[in-house]
């Protein structure tokens, strides 16, 4: 388990769509969203999980973060088991969920961060210091006293990342951190991710649809399609011998209806 920040072993997950109350005896239909996922993320790595919509990326991150329980399989984060020590995992892992919600819209950035600092059990003095530090680091200092509802999409994404830094987490999971951002904001977020990994040694895993972004930022890329892990490897490894092909073609090749596990650990 040494040097592995995250280890996912044989994880499968099904969802059971709710059925109307008037058909209580109908057999439950179930949808498999993850199928026998095996994955390792080394310490200090930037890991990109690439997949189409509905591939199961967010579900996998929710399972790693202990928000969701798998139906089969196990997860370890820094050696802590997801069922035996979930509180240990929550102490060393942060999950910034995508989208523009997850904060109190009518409260200011500072009030939002203060609230979460208390939930992360930081003493008041340390909270104030941490908020200023994190805001400066994430480029949010000028927005601290502005209500969340007045922030742009890019600033909200950076705030999501800033919150995930409050507890000094060693492992950061980011769900589509560059979704619906303009090119400049995207660049800011990508720079932030690289800085967190290179300068602070954080292990970062993020989901994305943007293949170029994954290739540009990540040390390791995994391709998830229809709940199956099709490939894991360095961008060059995934391309194989065909160095001329672009990453879209590589991605499409892995998403064809055949499973390629050659690089899966």
């Amino acid at each position: 388990m040494v040097n592995r920040a995250v280890e996912v072993s044989n994880v499968s997950k099904w969802f059971y769509p709710s059925r109307p109350l008037w058909v209580p005896f109908k057999a439950k239909s179930k949808i498999q969203v993850l199928s026998n996922i095996n994955l390792e993320i080394p310490q200090g790595n930037i890991f990109a999980l690439v997949g189409t919509n509905g591939a199961g990326k967010t579900t996998l991150f929710k399972i790693i973060s202990t928000l969701l329980l798998p139906d089969e399989g196990e997860v370890w984060v820094n050696g802590h088991h997801h069922l035996h020590r979930p509180e240990k995992i929550r102490a060393i892992l942060s999950f910034a969920m995508g989208g523009e919600r997850g904060f109190y819209w009518r409260l200011s950035v500072r009030q939002n961060l203060e609230f979460f600092c208390t939930l992360y059990e930081l003493p008041p003095r340390e909270s104030r210091k941490k908020i200023v530090e994190t805001a400066r680091f994430s480029g949010l200092d000028e927005y601290l006293d502005r209500p969340y509802e007045q922030l742009s999409a890019g600033t909200r994404q950076r705030l999501g990342i800033a919150r995930s830094l409050l507890n000094g987490a060693k492992v950061l999971l980011l769900d589509e951190p560059t979704r619906s951002l303009d090119p400049l904001s995207k660049r800011d977020v990508k720079t932030l991710l690289k800085k967190l990994s290179r300068e602070y040694g954080k292990t970062i895993a993020f989901t994305t649809h943007d293949l170029h972004e994954a290739e540009e930022v990540a040390d390791t890329i995994a391709i998830l399609h229809k709940g199956q892990l099709r490939a894991v490897g360095k961008p060059d490894e995934l391309r194989g011998t065909d160095k001329q092909s672009n990453f879209e073609e590589t991605f499409a090749k892995f998403c064809e209806d055949r499973v390629i596990h050659s690089n899966v650990p």
């Binding site: 102490a91 969920m97 919600r101 109190y104 819209w105 409260l107 939930l119 992360y120 059990e121 209500p147």
Partner: protein
């Protein structure tokens, strides 16, 4: 834990401050409601015509005033947890909170604590409004005896609130229990008129509602200044309700929460 509870209360206070007119609206609405009943009460001034009111000092307005004030406590205890979960789901903050080292119990108590505090302040405000503006006479009141009534009522309805919140977690719909309990209590428990005016068969139903005992006990101690011993029967029934409903609600809610976590339905409402 106390810092976290305080953080939830502080956050709710900060959020409440951003709705500047809500307080004024609430004050105006309550005043208008009491004013309506104040004038309706003038129609029932003669207790010889309405002997059922004689047991409550013969003053209809004082009777209904206490009914409205204490049914607010029921509404809060019954719906607070569900309202909180619905709000956090809507804001997308539930998962963010669950990812912090905060036990769900702390989170739930933190939110409910604020709502309870608010409803107690409101109830005290109602009583003050009644005394000052409508000259409601509470000179005989035994305020000390009110505390066990408030405590047991809160525990009973919080138990029902846990059942209701559990149902909401599973179905994302308001529990029929909450709707029926709210509706039936307002109609049958003696909020707007004494239970004595109901036909016998409805009075039987009324005896299964916790609010019936809350209102009966509250009116006895606040109107007649009765002692705790005098309201012993009502307190015993409320104790039985709370002993039954609180653990039942806790078990059901915990299971519903685990199931929602397994189903992955603790995230954003789409």
């Amino acid at each position: 834990m106390f810092r976290k509870l305080w953080a939830f209360c502080k956050r709710d206070w900060q959020l409440a401050l951003t709705y500047r007119y809500a307080f004024l609206y609430e004050l105006g609405r309550t005043f208008a409601l009491f004013l309506s009943f104040f004038f309706i009460g003038k129609l029932f001034a003669d207790t010889r015509i309405h002997p059922q009111l004689a047991a409550y000092g013969g003053n209809y307005f004082r009777f209904v005033f206490l009914g409205i004030a204490f049914s607010g406590l029921m509404t809060t205890a019954l719906g607070s947890l569900k309202k909180m979960i619905s709000f956090e789901l809507g804001s997308g903050t539930l998962e963010a909170i669950l990812l912090t080292p905060t036990p769900f119990a702390t989170f739930a108590i933190g939110k409910v604590l604020w709502d309870f505090g608010l409803v107690l302040v409101k109830t005290a405000g109602y009583l003050l409004m009644g005394t000052i503006l409508f000259r409601v006479d509470f000179s005989q009141a035994n305020w000390f005896a009110l505390f066990p009534i408030l405590g047991l009522t809160s525990a009973t309805f919080f138990g029902l609130g846990l059942l209701s919140a559990g149902f909401f977690l599973l179905t994302r719909e308001t529990s029929p229990l909450e709707m029926m309990m709210g509706w039936a209590s307002r109609f049958l428990a003696g909020v707007y008129f004494p239970v004595a005016v109901l036909p016998d068969w409805l009075r039987v139903l009324s005896s299964y509602l916790p609010l019936t005992y809350t209102l009966e006990a509250a009116r006895k101690v606040l109107i007649a200044g009765s002692s705790i011993e005098t309201v012993g029967r009502e307190l015993t029934v409320l104790t039985c309700f709370s002993v039954l409903l609180l653990p039942l609600g806790l078990v059901f809610f915990t299971r519903a929460f685990d199931q929602a976590r397994h189903k992955g339905s603790l995230g954003l409402q789409n």
